[in-house]
Symmetry: none
Subunit: 197 residues, 4 copies
């Protein structure tokens, strides 16, 4: 036998290929409309082969969520490192959130689109994963100096909602994600009637 086979699949990135195919299919078709066969085809293998890497379809979804949240957490944490000003920190968290969401591939978008449902097999786990990420924003808002009666939870959910809805309307010609994020923060901070009594 010669030294190398023509199609030799580099050993470790086949799992990754499956994961990417799954994220893409979950995002475009939804979890249950995405079929293992199609995912396998996208990943360039047979259905049965997926099961060597992942024990079930539900585990694939979990892995996509984990990967998506791992990426966003890493990115946000890195963006915050070294920054002190509370408003600047919030702004950079949002900039990163928007950039990863809109230009960072299918993983994080799948997390935000294929939101867990109470009827999902792994519901509690997925919710816990996401809550863990969103806790970063709880901390960032707590660090702001705000009027005493301001409901910080509502503000956080308002901001996250505004951002997470963006893949629904964002098109390639739109303003850059970072600018959209800055706009949201600006509106949030000053309001629409900055000079009002």
């Amino acid at each position: 036998m010669p030294a190398s086979e023509p199609l030799a699949p580099r050993p470790e990135n086949r799992r990754q290929r499956v994961l990417e195919a799954a994220a893409s299919r979950f995002l475009r078709h939804g979890y249950s409309a995405a079929s293992m066969r199609d995912i396998a085809a996208d990943a360039g293998m047979q259905v049965g082969s997926i099961y060597y890497h992942f024990p079930s379809k539900a585990d694939l979804l979990t892995a996509v969520h984990q990967e998506g949240l791992r990426r966003i957490k890493t990115a946000v944490t890195e963006a915050l490192s070294g920054r002190q000003d509370p408003w600047e920190r919030l702004e950079w968290a949002c900039i990163t959130h928007m950039e990863v969401l809109l230009h960072g591939g299918d993983f994080f978008q799948t997390v935000m689109r294929e939101l867990p449902r109470e009827t999902d097999p792994d519901w509690k786990h997925l919710v816990a994963l996401r809550d863990d990420y969103e806790a970063i924003f709880t901390g960032l808002l707590d660090a702001l100096t705000l009027p005493a009666d301001m409901d910080r939870r509502k503000v956080r959910l308002m901001l996250l909602g505004a951002m997470n809805y963006s893949p629904m309307w964002y098109r390639s010609g739109d303003d850059a994600p970072a600018n959209i994020a800055r706009n949201f923060i600006e509106v949030l901070r000053r309001g629409l009637e900055p000079g009002a009594p």
Copy 2:
């Protein structure tokens, strides 16, 4: 003869029963994970009977969207009638939007949760239906007096995103929908640092 016969089908509301069952299942399981069998069971009839009222599952989804959007449009239009002040009008649109979304049953929530995908059977139609409703908000924002460089489209999408994300976190003990809406408007109008330079 006893008071009621088993086969008397209370003629007209069976179609409505199907529609309600479908909205509920679509909301709780997602469109493709919801089975016609379960919808039929919820509606108290046989699977085949659904097809007398709706030609396909996709049409059922379309009908749910139509009904949800018909309801919210009616409610918002009515809430706006007689009001003149632009900010008051926007606030009432949001109050109504939140009340119908959070306390108005499954229809409108399904519209906002089961967002159309490009791969969906009736995608363009569903998007057009929702755009038609959201156009109300375009008008409301156009009526506001805002700084000249303010991007009203972004503001509209920010506000809608904040509201439409709410079913994801809203729990029964939370503040009333109307209050949440008022809070959103307040933040949007004044910002979080009302006295800032």
Copy 3:
């Protein structure tokens, strides 16, 4: 109430409309691929209404066969009346058979195309109906003066097969059915090598 209603269906020909629609659908789609709903639609009525005229789909098929065979028997019998010469009688039977088969509507063609199968509900009945018609040809062949060892049954089946296959290849530009029939008879009588030893 005014003197006449706009849609008043002339009382007796609705049964006939059903029968014609059935023949057409049976012929073009085959018995089991033809649906009662489609037949009803072609006939301009609701499915349920068919059951006033015919107790079941199988009975519809039987009725189509009966009507088709009634028509061809009437036509052939009439064509033979007054003719004495055995070969002329056979020729006219064939001319009529071909004309009704190729230009006589869907009934007789359905009889010959949707041939009864042993698995059909009404198999024996349908076969008996057709045998009854084909018996005419047995008689016509018996009347011919032929070489003693000639197997008249085989000749009859050869001739009927040749004719009954014709709807499969006959197209509107082809020779007239009567001419095709005359050709068949000519070949049958003289052979392809008329002057051979």
Copy 4:
């Protein structure tokens, strides 16, 4: 360990088993009255397993036609090889045609019984397959020396019709297929009145 394991699927002939079961069911019940469930049962497997080998019921029909026509073409071609005399060649083609049709199993008979309809899924393809076979007969007739005004197409269709109708009346006690074929050729060649003026 006992002699055979229940799950050992004798690897390659399962596809063939499906094909045979399909031919048999299509022949006895007709294409649309034959159910995949019954075909699977005849083949000794689950319905779903059929779809590993054939993508749809329509493809199964196509495969049956292909196999039937492949068989008859092979048989006829072989029967003609080495023969020169035009009439002898035609006779042997007919002998083979009749033998395969009446004693050659369900495949070719299905081709000739389950004649393609314009409404069939794969209509044009099936017609093309059969035309390809029947072209052999066009060639055989062209090779005969016949009166100048003889319409060879009509003669070909007369002969094919006579043969293809035979499964409808052939019963096990009948004359051997080869003899029936010889009879047809004899009648075709000499006619019924060989000594006539």
